[in-house]
């Protein structure tokens, strides 16, 4: 009988070399207060200067989210006092953001849902405050990071929707190369708002939830909140507009300490930055930086390569993997084979070595070659796995490795026959047992032959030769 409405506010760190408004390095994990200058520390007399790459990435995201792009985007000061915010105002956008009124299609379960985007705006991050007993420690390395805030309309219904949205959105920004989407390191952050109401009665009182540090928490927190609000409605209590924090240890949302006064951000135009009017070349660069959207790509992977939905889901997760996949297929490998290798052996090796597909020694061409060598009968699947190991260890082409390591499949029955004879001679008792009816011992002999061949003998040939020689 209730209807719930969820909207998300997502902040992403734009993957630029420097901060939004100064030339300091924008990099996570450096020693505290090393990437700072008078500008991002808010010293008297400093002025902001707009990072070209960051503003271009902002337009790219807005464009990818099908927004109306601003021909004259403006910067504003958002005023509030916070210890980790050096100027005690944040340079942000309000009246004329980079983009507004967009949408993104996402897959939730088996259906596709369109989520409207209210606006996309550029701003700067604050520093970090670490609480330590009766003191707080301030680190301003993050102060001034270029941030992009994406605000959705309240088009999502339950926690699972929000989780799916975040996953899709993360994939999108990684496809665009504008953000690594790492929620643990805070390069992607999410706040949510939820309201519920009787069906058909429109939006209810909005409750904001902060501190959602993973897409799992987003799901849990929103479902918790929907339940909490429904409970209140059941009891006839009014839901009050407030901001709550998700407590991940207790799995519940809790009211944030009550602010003494309502916020009034007093937005006004940033006098230190003139408005930005993108030129035609700038917009062309934005167009050029776009790529096929993940969902479109997934559908194409299914349609063009016959992958199942699950297989396409796996392959399209990372743009590089999808590119790799298509390149391997283009180089002659069969699509499903490429998928199988990527989703099992290659994945295992990547996990073991801690490398990413992008910077590991395996190229799409090498994988395609490896697959074709199996197809040609040059090597067995088993050898191929060994070759893959060597590719990772030695960064060489599969043929080179096979030549150097003599990893060539022996499928000539005469050659195998010789090995079999040696093995049979060495294990006469086993042969007798088999002849007497103990068929289980056959496996032992196969193993011995494979071992004697250095693993190079083709197993089907070994089996047929053995059968013939032992059982006649």
């Amino acid at each position: 009988m209730y209807q719930s409405f969820i909207g998300l506010e997502i902040h992403i760190h734009l993957d630029a070399e420097t901060k939004a408004f100064c030339g300091c390095k924008a990099h996570f994990g450096d020693e505290e207060n090393t990437n700072v200058c008078p500008v991002c520390m808010g010293f008297p007399g400093v002025l902001p200067t707009l990072n070209e790459k960051a503003i271009q990435m902002s337009y790219t995201v807005a464009r990818a989210l099908n927004c109306k792009l601003s021909p004259n985007t403006k910067f504003e000061r958002k005023n509030y006092f916070y210890p980790d915010m050096p100027k005690n105002y944040q340079i942000s956008q309000f009246a004329e953001p980079v983009g507004r009124d967009g949408y993104i299609d996402i897959e939730i379960g088996d259906s596709i849902k369109r989520v409207r985007i209210h606006d996309v705006h550029f701003e700067e991050d604050a520093g970090k405050m670490i609480h330590a007993g009766d003191m707080s420690l301030l680190d301003y390395n993050r102060a001034g990071y270029p941030l992009l805030e994406i605000v959705t309309e309240p088009d999502l219904v339950i926690g699972e929707d929000a989780e799916a949205f975040l996953k899709s959105f993360r994939r999108l920004v990684r496809y665009l190369g504008v953000c690594d989407g790492n929620m643990e390191e805070g390069s992607m952050r999410c706040d949510a708002n939820v309201s519920i109401n009787l069906k058909g009665a429109g939006l209810g009182e909005k409750v904001e939830i902060k501190n959602l540090n993973s897409s799992r928490f987003v799901r849990k927190a929103l479902n918790y909140e929907i339940e909490r609000q429904s409970g209140m409605m059941d009891e006839g209590k009014a839901v009050v507009q407030e901001t709550r924090l998700w407590n991940e240890n207790r799995d519940q949302s809790e009211p944030m300490r009550k602010k003494e006064d309502a916020n009034d951000y007093r937005y006004f135009p940033e006098p230190d930055l003139p408005p930005f009017r993108p030129s035609e070349e700038f917009m062309q660069d934005v167009e050029n930086s776009l790529c096929e959207m993940p969902l479109v790509r997934k559908q194409r992977l299914m349609n063009s390569y016959g992958l199942s939905s699950d297989q396409a889901e796996y392959i399209h997760e990372e743009k590089y993997m999808a590119d790799f996949f298509e390149q391997a297929v283009f180089s002659g490998a069969e699509a499903v084979q490429v998928y199988s290798w990527l989703s099992s052996d290659v994945k295992k090796l990547l996990n073991r070595t801690g490398l990413s597909l992008e910077d590991c020694p395996l190229s799409a061409e090498r994988l395609a070659k490896l697959i074709s060598m199996i197809g040609d009968g040059q090597i067995s699947g088993k050898i191929a796995k060994k070759v893959l190991d060597y590719i990772f260890d030695e960064d060489k082409d599969p043929e080179t490795i096979c030549n150097e390591k003599k990893l060539v499949q022996i499928s000539d029955p005469t050659a195998i026959g010789k090995i079999v004879e040696d093995v049979l001679a060495a294990h006469a008792q086993v042969v007798e047992d088999i002849k007497a009816g103990d068929a289980r011992q056959m496996g032992f002999l196969v193993g011995q032959v494979m071992k004697a061949s250095g693993g190079n003998a083709a197993p089907p040939v070994v089996q047929s030769v053995l059968k013939e020689k032992v059982l006649g």
Binding site: P38, F43, T49, L50, P271
Partner: protein
């Protein structure tokens, strides 16, 4: 201007006013605000607000690291309270 209005404004500005200041500054703020009322006499409908008097062109900075004459350590030295490289502030729980 009401006292409560002054208090809200002061809080937004992170100022605390003692009693004497509330009186004195309250009077002066009110005096200026009533002087500002003069602006209601002039009709400026249809005029664009001037936010940037003369700036016409785009200005952008290359996304390249800049060396700065001020070293991070020099900046930290300005802080009233430090612990190693952290700036320290009190926080009674």
């Amino acid at each position: 201007m009401e006292i409560s209005d002054l208090t809200v404004t002061a809080t937004l500005a992170s100022l605390v006013l003692d009693e004497a200041e509330t009186q004195k500054l309250g009077d002066e703020v009110s005096r200026m605000l009533s002087y500002f009322e003069k602006m209601s006499e002039i009709d400026v409908d249809g005029l664009e607000p001037t936010t940037h008097a003369l700036q016409k062109e785009n200005r952008l900075r290359d996304d390249r690291r800049l060396s700065n004459e001020a070293q991070p350590d020099e900046l930290l030295e300005c802080a009233p309270d430090l612990e190693d490289r952290f700036i320290l502030i009190p926080n009674v729980l």
